[in-house]
């Protein structure tokens, strides 16, 4: 089997390593935060969460390859109180705090459960990537959001999620050249078949393509792939 494996072209490996890099960063952050939260018993005050999350976000947003639009943590029900969520999320170079009034809302859990990037990792317990979509809650920008569940040490329950937004334009800047090297109609697509970046002029981010018709296909990270296909 191994001998028959076709060698993965360098541009594909570059895309794979960029996406896997983001996912790996989140995985490590989720572990670190889970460990820190384990040290706190019972209900955790919002200010304590801020104290743990903000320095990490600051570090993440200072990285420039790829540039992350925002990052943070959102609590699952139970961590800061029954039936309540808590958002500690910052965006942009000025570390602007996002959606802070929601922390005073009695319906904060409901608010985030509506969002795929929160609901899926919380309910399934596995990391997720959402988008591309317009993030009306935070950046008002066209983004892909990567999220990873956070668990306290020795617990199976999801205490919350950590996540980061990457602007679609940032992904294009980083990936378009590689995709063009692979061919005139090669796209990075989500598991739903939605184009994130494509070398084809006829395909824009957000367009749907039928994955079945795909010629070449390489997995990228947990939820993406590189495919060659043009039509929806």
């Amino acid at each position: 089997m191994a001998a028959e494996q076709i060698e993965v072209p360098a541009p594909v490996r570059q895309v794979q390593s960029l996406i896997a890099g983001i996912e790996g960063t989140l995985e490590k952050w989720a572990q670190d935060l889970g460990r820190d939260l384990s040290g706190m018993r019972g209900i955790v005050p919002g200010a304590a969460i801020d104290g743990l999350v903000q320095p990490a976000v600051k570090g993440l947003l200072a990285k420039d390859s790829p540039e992350l639009a925002g990052a943070g943590f959102i609590a699952n029900s139970g961590l800061v109180g029954p039936d309540r969520s808590y958002i500690a999320w910052w965006q942009g170079p000025q570390l602007e705090r996002v959606d802070a009034l929601a922390n005073f809302s009695p319906s904060s859990m409901e608010r985030y459960l509506k969002a795929e990037w929160f609901r899926i990792p919380v309910e399934s317990g596995i990391p997720h990537a959402t988008g591309p979509y317009i993030d009306f809650l935070c950046t008002d920008d066209y983004v892909v959001t990567f999220t990873h569940p956070v668990r306290r040490e020795g617990s199976v329950e999801v205490a919350g999620i950590v996540g980061t937004d990457v602007a679609v334009r940032t992904l294009e800047q980083n990936l378009i050249r590689g995709l063009r090297q692979l061919g005139p109609a090669v796209s990075l697509v989500s598991a739903e078949g939605r184009v994130v970046v494509s070398s084809a002029l006829s395909l824009e981010p957000g367009d749907l393509i039928a994955l079945d018709d795909a010629g070449l296909s390489y997995p990228v990270g947990r939820r993406f792939s590189i495919v060659s296909a043009t039509e929806d």
Partner: protein, 244 residues
């Protein structure tokens, strides 16, 4: 040279226009109003203290105090003293139909028509692209905004704006999305008024359903026409009311 400069500088004129001096406190007021209008904060609930609010929004406690006192002066929050005291969202916070009528009176027909044209152009463009891009999950979300779960004025107005925002979300244009958010802010509480009319409420459900059906059928032209009808119905209702 001057001729050229003046003809080329219509865009530049906007750059040099005086900045809107909406202060930080006013922005905090707007945020809180918006939070109540969209159901994030609810009537009767306790608001954070000045210090908490300041920390959460990244403003100084002085600014937070100014914002709270402005909200208090307008009757949007009440403050009680004592051990269980604090600031609370007023029981009858919004929607203020009176305020919406006042807003309508300050506008001319020309302004209402122009606002309607802009609103229509943006939403129709979103609907057209949405018909190409919607998936099953998004259609299901869109259909949750046909009719509100509760029969309150605030809920009707919320489905009105959320339905159109969902069209923008499905279309996935950041520019059109931001434009729509800005337009809805400009429309303010005006969109409340048509929903005081029961006939309009029911008609709007039919019109939103027609848009959702067209998008599900991936019919770009029909999605555009039906969205245009939905927005026009709203603007025509306002013009009608304005002429009374």
């Amino acid at each position: 040279m001057t001729q050229q400069a003046s003809s080329a500088s219509r865009g530049l004129a906007a750059v040099f226009a005086p900045l809107r001096s909406s202060g930080l406190a006013e922005q905090v007021v707007e945020r809180i109003e918006q939070a109540v209008e969209t159901g994030l904060l609810v009537s009767g609930q306790r608001l954070p203290s000045e210090v908490e609010l300041a920390a959460a929004l990244g403003v100084s406690p002085v600014t937070a105090r100014e914002a709270l006192s402005s909200l208090r002066a307008r009757g949007l929050i009440t403050t009680t003293r004592g051990r269980n005291g604090g600031s609370f969202v007023a029981e009858d916070f919004l929607p203020s139909i009176k305020g919406a009528h006042e807003q309508l009176r300050t506008l001319t027909r020309l302004q209402i028509n122009d606002l309607g044209l802009h609103y229509s152009i943006v939403t129709v463009a979103c609907a057209g692209i949405a018909a190409r891009r919607a998936d099953a999950t998004e259609l299901a979300i869109l259909r949750t905004y046909l009719r509100p779960a509760q029969d309150t004025l605030l809920s009707w107005r919320l489905v009105d704006s959320e339905f159109l925002l969902e069209l923008a979300a499905i279309a996935r244009s950041a520019r059109l999305g931001r434009e729509l958010v800005r337009l809805q802010a400009d429309l303010g509480t005006l969109t409340l008024l048509p929903y005081t009319d029961e006939a309009f409420r029911e008609a709007s459900v039919g019109m939103r359903t027609a848009v959702a059906d067209a998008i599900e059928a991936r019919d770009t032209a029909l999605a555009e026409t039906t969205t245009k009808e939905l927005v026009h119905a709203l603007i025509h209702w306002l013009l009608d009311e304005h002429s009374r």
